[in-house]
Symmetry: C3
Subunit: 426 residues, 3 copies
């Protein structure tokens, strides 16, 4: 890709930011399966109204344990279906008892002697639970094949769930990922060895079959490689967050709640077993309880002059999240890219914007879009702590086992993200 | 009236919802006396700014004890008159001491040697206190005759005031009233005997001299009848709320505060005397203090996934109000009726919409509107608890006595509704 | 000037109220140095984002102790510069470490081997600290000469800082100043001797070289004179606020934060020395700690019917501020002047509006505007407490000394005004 000293984001790129129904990005994102909730947050027999890409849905778990996603409101008198009761796999409206099957078909209208159920239905959306996340297909077309990530399924270890919400446009987070040069500054105080990562010339971004392969080459020739999957996925190897584990692979999805709020759904692959796994689990559970301060709120305090990064109590808040909040939310709820000055170090950001612009243009004009596909060769890489390149996926793991999914989100984080996901009355 | 399986609300019906000055519904509603406040909430010598139908007013009680309603702001420099002081029946502005009589005439301009009071006045609105409520006429024309309800005035017993505010459009509540079939579902957990009420074919709605007579006929031929009075009044008989009293007659008025908030002013006729009255009064006062949770806030928690109806502490909240909040506020602040599917059981809703559409159309085109009038024959009826139809109005009461007005609103309810009624600075 | 019984504010006068970039008033106000913050609130090495006239800036104090004001966001990726770190007099962005000198020039781009710093800069705004306030020039032209007020600099005594924020348009406060007749009413409960001040005929307003000379003549011929300086300054003598001091001179600046919030930056000249100064200082510090209630919040409670002026605890709140809040915020966030009825007593308000209208019209049409200048003859005057006219500026003070600046703002006031000044993320 080009190497511009200064690249301006084309006017059309605004189109990437708004994801409501009918918007270009909203329609494009709805062509892909998207995670919308955490399996662990939805008990059997419980329903909630969630907002995803500025659209409201009723999400519930039937008594069989299966999750279902349907339109948010009853077509009879418009009240929220999530306040209704679950009967088997069906959902009965709180207001007049109209009952809808998991396929959206109206099954009962108790106050109507001559019921007209067969003429009434709501939309039901395909749902699949995978790696502790509830995925849904929200588009109007036939759902594409569900993309699996076998490395995260079949191994002897744990998949840790560590998602968070952030109060800004999702694209600010997405761009932040393909921007290794922020690490030395934003997270510089945190992990000393980040320093030096991400010098402009050493960065490269190439289109792949899945999206963008983003790399950094050290002066000694060693490379670190991360994989961006269109339209909003990231597959990376990151520094260990515990002394007993090595570099850790992760999958991220950035999903708009609305145009100024988003979720990062994240799962980490931790190939630890036995005593190591037990000790790690204990430390993680201790840590999630220790965190009392919502990074989202503290970041606002910092940005609005009520707190200083120098006085943060690192025990009580997730520092990395806080730092990214400050950098990303500090750009405003929806960053104004007009007049932005990009450099060589922004090659990843530029690559993503170009792919998105190209695909959105084709999509909006009805031309064919690229069929993105992750194959087994599209994996992240990093040099080891002791200098040896390593792909953890293959090391000492037993592919016959199924990894256990563990929630490591701090309790305060869960409260904040559920508040963000649960659509406010308006 | 017709019996449509599916009736769509005509586009024009949006006109029923907005009640600000100059809007069709706002102008139509202003042709009628409306309750705007509770007598007990306004002490002598006190003034408040209230918002009614998206318009602000200064409401005050003179030293004589009479209530007065005038424009909210001083014509001199525009500050709120309610911060001023009351002198006799006049109101003196806090800012420069301009003094206005209860008729709105400017009486003094202390800083002006050559006062021009005679050229300055504000609008004063006719006010009348009745059944514990302060009514006002906010229209531009001559006020119509004040409608009285003798059944609630002259009897040996108590008139209980039990009003509440709700954070949604007033028309959602109005429609909910002529919708008996919601009772079995929305309030089903509450009072077992509600079950079975409101099957579609058994419901009927006929235009009356006052509005709509809404009925339900049981298989055994017994009828329950409720009366809707145009444009926003309800006269009904409801199940007893105390073991020592029978079915209880009530009057409701749904009054917009603005387009997304409204009051239900409600009075209940309780023909209890002597020891029964004393015991009832004690129970009511105990109950209003027991209620600590605002149903409005808890309903939002339910609708936004932070609480569940199954875990509600019925001691600490008014359950019926909460249930109606969930059903009505769950439709959104202003329900979107586009695409709604009405059935036979919605005959009451359809009847109200038709009357409103017809009258609004005539009103807006300058054609004569119907002169609604409640006569003594327009009363609600219900079968008795023991099976015998009963009209409480006539039972064991002494028409020479004047009923005492008792406030039974929970303390938390009063705080919430005063906050809703008192216009925020904007 | 004319003496109209009723004067309507011309339609164009709306132009005085909006002060965002590009608006007529915003452009006009930016031709003048404006105070934007308090020196004492900005420690060395600290940066904050502030909002002034609906525009955001990064304000910071370099390690030398000098204050600097630059654009709020980094031109690279748009994050707030105030979250960055201060290095000497430069500010380094938190996100990718771009470093900017106090003159706005980009000095480093750490991730760019071929840096293009010389092509990148942000705007830096001239700053000057004076009388405990940080002044800035936000216009596009050459800054005018900085206006000094020697009476407040060189004397043996203290300059007390007593600024506050108010949640309404700045022009409401500005007009309130040239309106002596409000004092007897708004502050009437406070200081008995205010009664009788400000009868209409006794008031006069004349254009001066600086703005408007506003006077009041007592029946005995004694005069009180206050000076308004264009576009938004006031120089007055006010009643003593402590028994040991005489009439006290003050300077006020009304500066928009945005269109519905403003600061009154205020300094008071207190020519007290020795034991009197020590005792006064002690009383002032005791008083600022005693004040627990934010007048801004209590005023809203009063205006919205949750509190009454009659029940205010004068120990815990600044009563004069509260009274002015009620009068000014009671006009609404931006007062609607349509239909206003002005009288003879509003001669000061009329004078200010006329000057503003004339100057704004000339400014917008590109014609020369008047060069306002305060000379030594433009000073306030008042009769003494014992009847003798006095100008405190000359009494028993030593012009060789430099007055000490003392912060007397209540702690709750500082918290409220910093929240108002520090731009929220949007």
């Amino acid at each position: 890709m080009a190497d511009p000293a200064v690249v301006r984001f084309s006017h059309r790129s605004e189109d990437c930011l708004r994801a409501g129904p009918g918007t270009p990005a909203g329609r494009y994102l709805r062509q892909f399966w998207q995670p919308v909730y955490h399996s662990v947050d939805l008990a059997a027999g419980r329903a909630v109204t969630i907002r995803i890409m500025s659209q409201d849905f009723a999400l519930y778990r039937g008594q069989s344990g299966a999750a279902h996603l349907v339109d948010a409101t009853c077509p009879h008198r418009g009240t929220r279906l999530s306040s209704g009761r679950i009967e088997g796999e069906a959902l009965r409206c709180f207001y007049h008892g109209w009952k809808f099957g998991a396929d959206g078909q109206c099954l009962e209208q108790p106050a109507e002697e001559n019921a007209f159920c067969q003429k009434v239905s709501i939309r039901a959306y395909p749902v699949r639970e995978y790696l502790g996340l509830i995925f849904a297909f929200l588009g109007n077309s036939t759902p594409p094949e569900f993309q699996i990530h076998p490395e995260f399924e079949q191994f002897d270890g744990m998949v840790e769930i560590d998602s968070y919400s952030r109060e800004c446009n999702y694209f600010q987070n997405l761009e932040n990922a393909l921007d290794m040069s922020h690490i030395g500054f934003v997270h510089g105080d945190n992990v000393a060895i980040f320093k030096g990562i991400g010098l402009g010339r050493a960065l490269d971004a190439e289109e792949s079959a899945w999206g963008v392969t983003y790399g950094f080459t050290r002066p000694d020739g060693q490379r670190r490689v991360q994989q961006f999957g269109m339209p909003n996925i990231f597959y990376l190897t990151a520094l260990p967050t515990d002394p007993e584990i090595g570099w850790q692979e992760s999958l991220f999805w950035w999903v708009p709640i609305d145009d100024t709020n988003h979720m990062q759904f994240s799962v980490h692959r931790v190939p630890a077993q036995g005593d190591v796994a037990r000790r790690l689990h204990q430390r993680r559970q201790a840590r999630r309880s220790e965190i009392e301060i919502a990074h989202q709120a503290l970041a606002k305090d910092v940005l609005e002059g009520r707190a200083s990064m120098r006085e943060v109590d690192k025990k009580k808040v997730d520092l990395v999240r806080l730092q990214d909040d400050v950098a990303q939310v500090g750009q405003g709820l929806i960053a104004d890219r007009e007049g932005e000055r990009l450099g060589r170090a922004d090659v990843g950001v530029i690559a993503i914007r170009r792919l998105w612009a190209r695909e959105l243009a084709a999509f909006m004009e009805g031309r064919p879009t690229k069929k993105w596909k992750r194959d087994a060769s599209i994996v992240p890489r990093a040099w080891g702590l002791a200098g040896n390149p390593a792909r953890i996926g293959g090391q000492g793991t037993d592919a016959a086992k199924v990894a256990e999914v563990i929630d490591v989100r701090p309790h305060v984080e869960i409260a904040v993200q559920l508040k963000a996901l649960h659509a406010p009355i308006a």
